[in-house]
């Protein structure tokens, strides 16, 4: 590489640093702005002028959300759907992936072909809606879990990983008398933690971020609402229309502006918590896929 740079190059460099700093700040600042509003006293926040720090610091807005039965319930639903979906999806997709990674499996080709088809063909909105209705899944928690158990993409990602494991591993376990189910649950899942973590993160982020199934199937049952859906309903509300009563919770005055900001931050925090892992596994997965020649 170059050892010394000319004055011109230094200027260009300085310019690029500034440009990148602007790009980075403009992606993060909106989140920061909402954080500031969520930590500010609600009537004061409506006056505007909050840029870097809360003017009247308070945790009232967060207290409001947690004490509001509806929103606390939605938070619980979000956590539940994310955890249950992730566990079941990883287990089932991994199991199918394990079976398809056995080279002598009788239906290996047939099942792989069917899986590929599901990546391209979809019944569409209305037929799927009617299916859920006929199966009695409308207004149930199950509709968050059951339809999305299998994803062809996850199965193929995991199969690729399992195929690279040494063959002797499964064979020796078979000789020791373990059947395939035990081999999968007691050996394969545990030595495949990198791919399990990747798929689990994909599944968890997807489940945490989804709201449309709630909108479509469960909008009539308030008890089943998830956080993203509660937030979605607020997008088009007008900010200055003052003081939402709250479900008889204290005499707190709170405006849609601060609730929206607070909820947005609450919904973003779990993503931030797993962010280091997201970066590690997602980026790895993505570049590996791209570079595989």
């Amino acid at each position: 590489m170059l050892l010394h740079r000319t004055m011109g190059e230094r200027i260009v460099d300085a310019f690029l640093y500034v440009l990148l700093a602007i790009a980075a700040i403009s992606t993060v600042y909106p989140f920061l702005y909402l954080l500031i509003i969520s930590l500010n006293e609600t009537t004061d926040a409506l006056k505007g002028g909050l840029y870097l720090l809360p003017r009247k610091f308070t945790l009232e807005n967060y207290a409001y959300v947690f004490e509001n039965g509806k929103l606390a319930r939605a938070a619980l639903n979000s956590v539940l759907r994310t955890v249950i979906h992730t566990v079941i999806t990883v287990f089932c997709c991994g199991m199918l992936a394990y079976v398809l990674s056995r080279r002598d499996f009788v239906f290996r080709k047939l099942f792989s072909f069917i899986l590929i088809i599901t990546m391209y063909v979809s019944g569409g909105l209305i037929p799927t809606y009617l299916l859920m209705k006929n199966l009695g899944l409308m207004n149930t928690f199950l509709v968050y879990i059951v339809p999305g158990i299998v994803s062809a993409f996850y199965v193929f990602v995991m199969r690729t990983f399992f195929e690279q494991l040494p063959d002797g591993l499964v064979e020796s376990a078979h000789i020791d008398g373990a059947n395939d189910f035990r081999v999968y649950t007691q050996i394969i899942l545990w030595i495949s933690l990198p791919v399990v973590a990747t798929v689990a993160l994909y599944a968890a982020v997807g489940a945490w971020n989804s709201w449309f199934d709630n909108y479509l199937y469960n909008s009539r049952n308030e008890k089943l609402a998830v956080l993203q859906y509660e937030l979605q309903k607020m997008i088009q509300t007008v900010e200055t229309s003052n003081s939402e009563g709250g479900d008889g919770v204290g005499r707190r005055i709170i405006s849609p502006l601060t609730i929206k900001a607070t909820l947005t931050i609450l919904v973003t925090v779990p993503i931030l918590l797993v962010y280091p892992f997201l970066q590690k596994y997602f980026v790895q997965g993505m570049t590996l896929g791209a570079m595989k020649d």
Partner: protein
């Protein structure tokens, strides 16, 4: 020996070979019963949720009303599709689809490539990592959060953008950005680029990091300037990835999009924000015209499937080892 005897003799080995193969097959299935128990229930689940809805496609060729049996409904052939192609809302939504997806593809790709090049040119690895970490973030948060953030930032009363512009004296009163229908395409493109460009840069960075360092040395010896280095080494190394990703994105140009338009759109800008999938939802479920809604859905599926298959075939030819 008579001819008959010969012809009677012949089939026997073939038959036994067939039965042998069949019995081997059964033996294999029996031997692999654990594997079958592990996979068949999952495959049945897939069949139920992925393939059974295809049965509902019949609705598009019938006059179906809720509560009726699908088989009893009257056949109408392609009537719904003919209505669809002459439907004003449909043509308008198709336009919105194509325009918004193209704009997003163009600006999103340009920003991702630019970010990747600039990041690869800088020497401070710490700074580069921080910028990357920050620019990925919007990719992982939900579209609901992103829509909320921008609707708040651009709000006519009290939104940060309007507040700043008023303070700077550029405008006298707040602008309702999402109330200007014709601005929607631009706003949507900027928002989607904001969400995706940091993430999109990763793949180009990977392509750049794959460049043989010898090329840089050779360019240095030849006295190439930095701009020449970018132009003659970095850009050409990105182009295969760029072309490939663009080709793949073309598969979704006509039908892609739903969530972002649904969340950012409102009654005022719907003429420019509604896309085909939203039309299917609106007419199919909200207005209860299941047959027409399904026809819209089928159009969507068939067009995108065809495009994706064509485009994949082209991409495969372009870089056969990627798939």
């Amino acid at each position: 020996m008579s001819m008959k005897a010969v012809s009677e003799l012949k089939p026997i080995p073939i038959n036994s070979r067939k039965t042998l193969r069949a019995s081997l097959y059964w033996k294999k299935i029996k031997k692999q019963h654990v594997l079958i128990w592990m996979s068949v229930p999952i495959m049945l689940h897939l069949a139920l949720f992925q393939f059974v809805p295809l049965w509902g496609w019949l609705m598009a060729f019938k006059d179906y009303h809720i509560g009726q049996s699908l088989l009893d409904a009257k056949w109408v052939g392609f009537t719904h599709f003919r209505t669809l192609l002459g439907h004003d809302g449909f043509l308008q939504d198709l336009r919105n689809n194509i325009v918004m997806n193209s704009m997003q593809l163009a600006l999103g790709t340009a920003c991702a490539v630019a970010l990747a090049i600039v990041l690869s040119e800088l020497r401070s690895k710490g700074f580069v990592r921080i910028v990357q970490t920050m620019t990925y973030l919007p990719h992982f948060v939900s579209m609901v959060v992103v829509a909320n953030i921008f609707v708040m930032l651009l709000s006519p009363d009290g939104g940060l953008v309007n507040e700043l512009m008023i303070k700077l004296g550029w405008i006298d009163e707040g602008i309702f950005f999402f109330g200007k229908a014709t601005w929607f395409w631009t706003l949507h493109t900027i928002i989607m680029t904001w969400k995706g460009f940091g993430w999109g840069a990763i793949i180009y960075l990977a392509a750049i990091s794959g460049i043989d360092p010898g090329l840089y040395d050779a360019a240095h010896v030849d006295g190439a300037s930095r701009w020449q280095r970018v132009k003659y080494i970095v850009l050409p190394s990105i182009i295969p990835t760029l072309v490939l990703l663009t080709i793949l994105d073309i598969g979704y140009l006509m039908t892609g999009g739903f969530e972002s338009q649904f969340l950012l759109g409102n009654v005022i800008n719907s003429e420019y924000s509604e896309v085909i999938s939203i039309l299917a939802l609106r007419i199919g479920l909200n207005e209860g015209d299941f047959s027409f809604g399904t026809a819209v859905g089928i159009f969507n599926s068939v067009v995108s499937m065809t495009l994706v298959l064509i485009v994949n075939a082209i991409a495969r030819r372009y870089k056969s080892n990627l798939f």
